[in-house]
Symmetry: C2
Subunit: 77 residues, 2 copies
Amino acid sequence: MKKSIFYHAGCPVCVSAEQDILELVGTDNVEIVHFGESKSRIAEAEKAGVKSVPALVTPNGNVLHINYGASMADVKA
Amino acid sequence: MKKSIFYHAGCPVCVSAEQDILELVGTDNVEIVHFGESKSRIAEAEKAGVKSVPALVTPNGNVLHINYGASMADVKA
């Protein structure tokens, strides 16, 4: 199975959601991207349709925005 | 593993998220509750902390609000 990608920005909401997603989907099936550590991947996430974090991009390209941590504008600030 | 519960209200956003969640988490690991068919379970969902649908309540009781279909107020209307 192609991996999902979980984008987050280290906020408390994000970290909590990350734990849940990893547990539900399985650690091996998700790539975790932390924008604080990987600023260069913000553009990729926006291109995929990510509007806020945390968000999970599924293997078929759908974007699931989970709870609400921060907007992409906040992430870039 | 205890099942997660996916609450939704049949809106297009909900149905799309349902497909994604079932694929990611596995059909056997999720109970699907459609408020249109199970009005009686709205109170249970609210008690669990569901504020909008679609939402996934994880086995450990966390609520993941996914995208945004409708508020619980809309669901009850």
